[in-house]
């Protein structure tokens, strides 16, 4: 259900959902130390909250084994005052973050030994969208929501379907997904997410100036985006993952009923159960063989 625009606050009151990547495997190998990263982010969040009394921030930690809300400015009592060292809300956020990391670690010990070096982006995205839906339904007035992914880990192709579903859900409720990717290679998922939802995808070149990137690009509220040109990505990696083996593929088979993607020919679609006909003799003549676009 898309929100009626008349329900929104006037102007620039924003609800910012920040998805914070806390994948330890990534941060232990990253050029940018986590301490520096988090202090830039905290400064940015503080600045964002200063911009409008009604601005609201929700931080969701995207962990390795789990994800969770770690801060919600609407439930906190006071945002503005500080202890002298840092704003009160920052220390609160850090405490929650620490607890979260400990919990995440415990899950790691309990679960299967091996894993992939990607964090649970799909879970965090879903949580963010759920939160937004709750805000939409909460009352007549609500701020403009947007999602900011601060991500560094590489894509986990096994999350492809879930992430794409979240992206389409965000697109449907007109919530832009901004993404700031601090990892080494570009993230195809986040590129697609920002492209489809009309957000901004950016890969900062100078990590020491992260705050400047955040404040120059991502602090722009949706109202001002009507008047400003924000960075556009030059190309988007539109490759899909197959549903059967979670591989990123250039070419594949598509179910003619539900559009599920497979890397090999199947007798039956695993998503919708449609039975496919005989595979044709040559690949060229096969009607179910469709090329996915690999460039914009």
């Amino acid at each position: 259900m898309a929100p009626a625009p008349s329900k929104l606050y006037a102007d620039d009151v924003s609800l910012l959902l920040v998805l914070l990547d806390t994948n330890p495997l990534f941060w232990s190998n990253c050029a940018l130390p986590f301490s520096k990263f988090i202090s830039h982010v905290l400064a940015f969040l503080n600045a964002f909250l200063r911009l409008h009394q009604l601005n609201q921030v929700v931080v969701i930690a995207t962990g390795y084994n789990s994800c969770d809300y770690i801060y919600d400015s609407s439930s906190a009592t006071s945002g503005s005052s500080g202890t002298g060292k840092m704003p009160v809300f920052c220390s609160k956020l850090l405490e929650n973050l620490e607890e979260f990391v400990i919990r995440d670690e415990q899950l790691e010990k309990g679960g299967p030994g091996g894993g992939i070096a990607s964090s649970l982006l799909s879970g965090a995205l879903s949580m963010a969208l759920c939160y937004i839906q709750r805000v939409f339904r909460s009352g007549p007035l609500h701020p403009h929501p947007r999602i900011l992914c601060l991500h560094g880990s590489q894509d986990g192709p096994e999350q492809y379907v879930a992430i794409m579903n979240s992206i389409f859900s965000a697109q449907h409720s007109m919530v832009p997904i901004d993404s700031c990717y601090v990892g080494a290679q570009n993230s195809a998922f986040l590129q697609q997410a920002s492209y489809i939802t009309g957000g901004v995808y950016l890969k900062p070149q100078l990590l020491d100036g992260l705050f400047q990137y955040l404040s120059t690009v991502y602090a722009t509220d949706l109202y001002s985006r009507g008047a400003l040109q924000l960075p556009k990505s030059v190309g988007v990696d539109f490759r899909a993952s197959c549903f059967c083996h979670k591989r990123t593929i250039d070419m594949g088979y598509i179910c003619s009923v539900c559009l599920s993607i497979f890397c090999k020919h199947h007798k039956k679609c695993s998503t919708c159960g449609s039975v496919f006909g005989q595979q044709a003799q040559s690949d060229v003549a096969s009607s179910s063989n469709k090329r996915k676009m690999s460039d914009s």
């Binding site: 009626a4 008349s6 329900k7 606050y9 006037a10 102007d11 620039d12 009151v13 400064a43 503080n46 600045a47 200063r50 911009l51 409008h52 009394q53 009604l54 006071s78 503005s80 005052s81 500080g82 202890t83 002298g84 060292k85 840092m86 704003p87 009160v88 920052c90 009352g139 007549p140 007035l141 705050f211 400047q212 404040s215 120059t216 602090a219 722009t220 509220d221 109202y223 001002s224 009507g226 008047a227 400003l228 040109q229 924000l230």
Partner: protein, 451 residues
């Protein structure tokens, strides 16, 4: 254009109009920096935040690069505002063109705000000294009561049972512009007075505060001190007690006036006395462009033009009476109906249909506020239609001229009437014209001269 609205919204104009030295002094207070940042246009806010750590001047060209073709007017407004408030200073260089640099005091304060958070000049008092602080519910009722009482006294001093302590001279200052009084008659609301009543509480409050501050010079108080105190006050926490000892003499006097407005509640302990800011005070620094104070609405409008207002407030009755016919009054309910006559009354008093509709929408009862639209469409449409009905046929007393002896005379007459600004209609084929009655005499003179 409703004049009052403009005045109320542009409180920051008053700040911007302060001399440069005083402005710089204001910026030494971090709270004022924050309040001013909040009051800016969205685009200006973005510029400030992105300039926060840049000490070198930025060329205007590099800022304009970002602006989309449709956004240049907004960009211009934002930059002008920043220059006006002296947050940005402009310099010109032959090679790079115009460039902007941020006010150093403002910048440092903002940086401090971002990394350390703000520190209030006074700490809330520990709970063992203060006895029995009011709950937030109580505090809110108190604030609303005070405010309504004040408003009622403002518009109709005869109706109030309990007078506020605001001096009559002060009251007269507030009433200036809102009421007119011909000698011996009861004062009547002016057009802006009606509009004032229909504004939301925040806007009303700012209007009053602005009047209060602009009057302060007359009693020998620096308006700049008052502004900074008010803005500071808005960052205090609602419901906490703050010691009166932390205030200086002027501030203590001011806070007594503010109690009458419902901005703070004063309490006296055994040894100490303290003040408790209410929501009205903390809302002061809410961006003025935002008209949404989250208060409980009370009005339900039905599709049959009947209006139910769950309120026992006399002020509400008075306000509803401005544009509707009050039919019943029960202890907690006012039943009124919106009729053509009642609306015509309102329109005559200078209230516009948009104001009435926005009042109904802003004060919609929680039950109907969830709906879209909160006021039935047929009602809003009808209100607008009735307003436009008034403008449909315009009657102008006029005189009709016919049977000119020749085309020359006719055309000369037309020109003459046009020059006088009284030509309403002409039909050159049949040589007829209609002129306003006001110029009829001159016209007759003119025609006589022609003969």
């Amino acid at each position: 254009m409703p004049q009052v609205r403009i005045i109320a919204k542009n409180f920051m104009d008053m700040v911007a109009a302060l001399p440069a030295m005083k402005l710089d002094r204001l910026y030494q207070n971090a709270f004022i920096c924050e309040a001013i940042l909040r009051s800016l246009q969205p685009l200006a806010k973005k510029y400030v935040i992105q300039m926060c750590y840049i000490e070198e001047p930025i060329t205007s060209k590099s800022l304009e690069e970002w602006v989309l073709p449709g956004g240049f007017s907004k960009h211009k407004v934002a930059i002008d505002r920043l220059l006006q408030l002296r947050i940005f200073s402009e310099s010109f260089d032959r090679t790079t063109g115009t460039s902007y640099r941020m006010n150093a005091t403002f910048q440092i304060n903002l940086q401090k705000l971002i990394t350390c958070g703000a520190i209030l000049p006074r700490e809330p008092m520990p709970s063992n000294i203060t006895i029995r602080l009011p709950s937030s519910q109580e505090l809110e009722t108190y604030a609303l009561q005070q405010w309504e009482c004040f408003l009622l006294q403002l518009i109709n001093s005869a109706q109030v049972e309990r007078m506020t302590n605001i001096s009559p001279s002060m009251m007269r200052i507030f009433q200036r512009g809102l009421l007119t009084q011909r000698d011996k008659e009861a004062p009547r609301l002016t057009e802006s007075g009606f509009q004032f009543l229909l504004m939301d509480t925040n806007a009303q409050l700012w209007y009053i505060i602005r009047e209060y501050i602009s009057n302060s010079e007359e009693i020998g108080v620096d308006p700049e001190d008052l502004i900074s105190f008010m803005l500071e006050l808005s960052f205090h926490e609602t419901g906490q007690a703050y010691n009166m000892n932390t205030l200086d003499e002027i501030q203590r006097n001011t806070i007594k006036d503010l109690e009458d407005l419902g901005l703070v509640k004063l309490q006296q302990g055994r040894k100490e006395s303290w003040f408790i800011p209410t929501k009205l005070a903390t809302n002061l620094s809410v961006s003025l462009t935002d008209s949404s104070s989250r208060k409980e609405g009370f009005v339900m409008v039905e599709t049959n033009f009947r209006m139910y207002a769950y309120s026992s407030s006399k002020l509400h009755t008075e306000i509803l009476r401005l544009f509707s016919r009050v039919e019943y009054q029960l202890p907690n309910l006012i039943v009124a109906s919106i009729t053509k006559e009642s609306l015509y009354n309102a329109f005559e008093n200078g209230i516009t249909a948009e104001q009435i509709i926005s009042f109904l929408q802003q004060n919609a009862h929680a039950r109907v506020a969830e709906r879209v639209p909160s006021v039935p469409e047929n009602v809003t449409d009808q209100i607008r239609l009735w307003e436009s009905d008034l403008n449909r046929v315009e009657m102008t007393p006029a005189h009709f001229y016919d049977e000119f002896p020749s085309r020359d005379v006719y055309e000369a007459a037309c020109d003459f009437a046009r020059e006088c600004g009284g030509l309403l209609w002409e039909d050159s084929k049949k040589m007829r014209l209609v002129v306003n009655t006001e110029v009829h005499l001159q016209m007759r003179e003119h025609l006589r001269r022609q003969k």
